[in-house]
């Protein structure tokens, strides 16, 4: 993958975060005891609010390592005391070798937190790129529909009506997005996922509106029996369906069908919100 493409797709930033985290872990390992104890306490706070699966195990590990460092440094303030059970090799009285083990444990915990956060970032980037691919394919298929209509020489009023239905669906879909966005978490960077969703909404809702405006009149003609013959009524011609002047109620149909993809859109949004919530929950309690 070339550098530019890596940035364009968003993977470059995830790679840089990983690199920064590896440097941070190396620096932490070599930090003075007082700094290490403070960082361990900070990680304890991060873990306590996070959704990490093995959170309790990591917390226990961190508390023991901090206790060893505090014991060897002769300090106790700000250090969370270890629980009653004793891990092999980390029982008082502590030796200089225990100090090294404690450092490694603290680094391991930091790495677990960092990897968890990097995974969530990668998931956001992947979701965004997947959505962008869907947008491109949907737009190309829509273009083929337009080209087919143009090549078939559809009447211009019908073509204009179809565009009107599409636009109404897109407008209703975007209006619905206003409601969904009101409950969204905006404090966490989502690597362009919300922007991709914004682009996806009018396309999807517009197509749904167009489909609804076409299908409902065709189906209703088949389902509703004709009064005089008892047989199914003949389907209206496409030119009549796509004529706003003859069937203004189709505009309402388009608006209703413009709302139908909202379930899909809100599912995409809730998935992204989960990743963002995971990132937010494992954030450092204070800026550093």
């Amino acid at each position: 993958m070339t550098t530019s493409l890596e940035w364009a797709l968003g993977y470059g930033y995830v790679r840089l975060w990983e690199r920064l985290h590896r440097a941070e872990e190396e620096k932490l390992f070599a930090a003075p005891p007082d700094e290490l104890i403070a960082e361990a306490t900070r990680d304890t706070l991060r873990l306590q609010g996070s959704n990490l699966e093995n959170r309790d195990l990591l917390l226990d590990q961190l508390q023991r390592a901090a206790s060893v460092l505090a014991f060897n440094a002769g300090v106790s303030a700000g250090v969370v005391p270890a629980s009653a059970s004793v891990v092999a090799g980390l029982a008082p009285p502590f030796h200089s070798g225990d100090d090294l083990i404690a450092r490694r444990l603290i680094r391991q915990v930091r790495r677990a937190i960092n990897e968890y956060r990097d995974d969530r970032r990668l998931a956001l980037v992947r979701a965004r790129n997947q959505l962008l691919k869907t947008i491109i394919l949907t737009a190309l298929v829509t273009y083929q529909l337009v080209a087919l209509a143009v090549l078939a020489g559809v009447p211009r009023p019908a073509f204009t009506s179809a565009i009107a239905y599409f636009l109404i669906g897109a407008t209703v879909g975007l209006f619905n997005r206003l409601y969904l966005d009101a409950s969204a978490e905006t404090a966490v960077e989502d690597y362009g996922l919300s922007a991709a969703r914004l682009l996806h909404t009018p396309l999807l809702c517009g197509l749904a509106a167009l489909g609804g405006a076409l299908i409902v009149p065709l189906l209703s003609a088949q389902i509703t029996p004709a009064i005089d013959t008892g047989a199914a009524a003949a389907a209206p011609p496409l030119a009549a369906i796509f004529d706003i002047t003859q069937r203004p109620f189709t505009l309402v149909l388009a608006a209703v069908f413009g709302l139908t993809p909202s379930a899909l859109i809100s599912r995409l949004q809730s998935e992204a919100e989960k990743y963002k919530s995971d990132l937010k929950s494992s954030e450092a309690p204070a800026a550093h």
Binding site: T2, T3, S4, L5, W7, A8, L9, G10, G12, Y13, L16, W17, R19, L20, R22, A23, E24, E26, K27, F29, A30, P32, P33, N72, A73, S96, D99, L100, L132, I135, I136, A139, L140, T142, Y143, V146, A147, A149, V150, L151, G153, R156, F159, T160, I163, E189, Y191, G192, A196, L199, L203, H288
Partner: protein, 143 residues
Amino acid sequence: MPTEPDASPVPRPEPRQASWRAKLMAGLIVTSPVGSIVIGVVTGAIFILGVDGVRAVLAGLLVGGASWLVMGVAVIAYLPVDRANRSIHKELMTRMETMRADPMPASAETQLQALAQELGAALSSTASDEERRRLISQLQHPR
């Protein structure tokens, strides 16, 4: 100690420069969702304006494709693709500058220098020799 720092000079990675083709490709990919929509919109607009059949489709492809190309070029000309997201770039820079203020082992410094180059930040020594020696001594003789 596996990550113990040493006093040897840290090799600095070479900066990676993207060619104009790679940049243009990146610009086209960034704008492809909008570009693919624009082609359809332009084709429809040309048809409504009075051009029929194949001519309308071809004109839509040409004009829409050209618009897409202009958008791609504009992206690489006016928006730095290497800094595609300013807020993330700023966050990474802040974190890196904070880390560089303190002495650190050579392995961390190597990582940070590579990071600085990729972010386009000016490189400077992260720690003085005295600080580094103190850190090495501290790690070799822990209390």
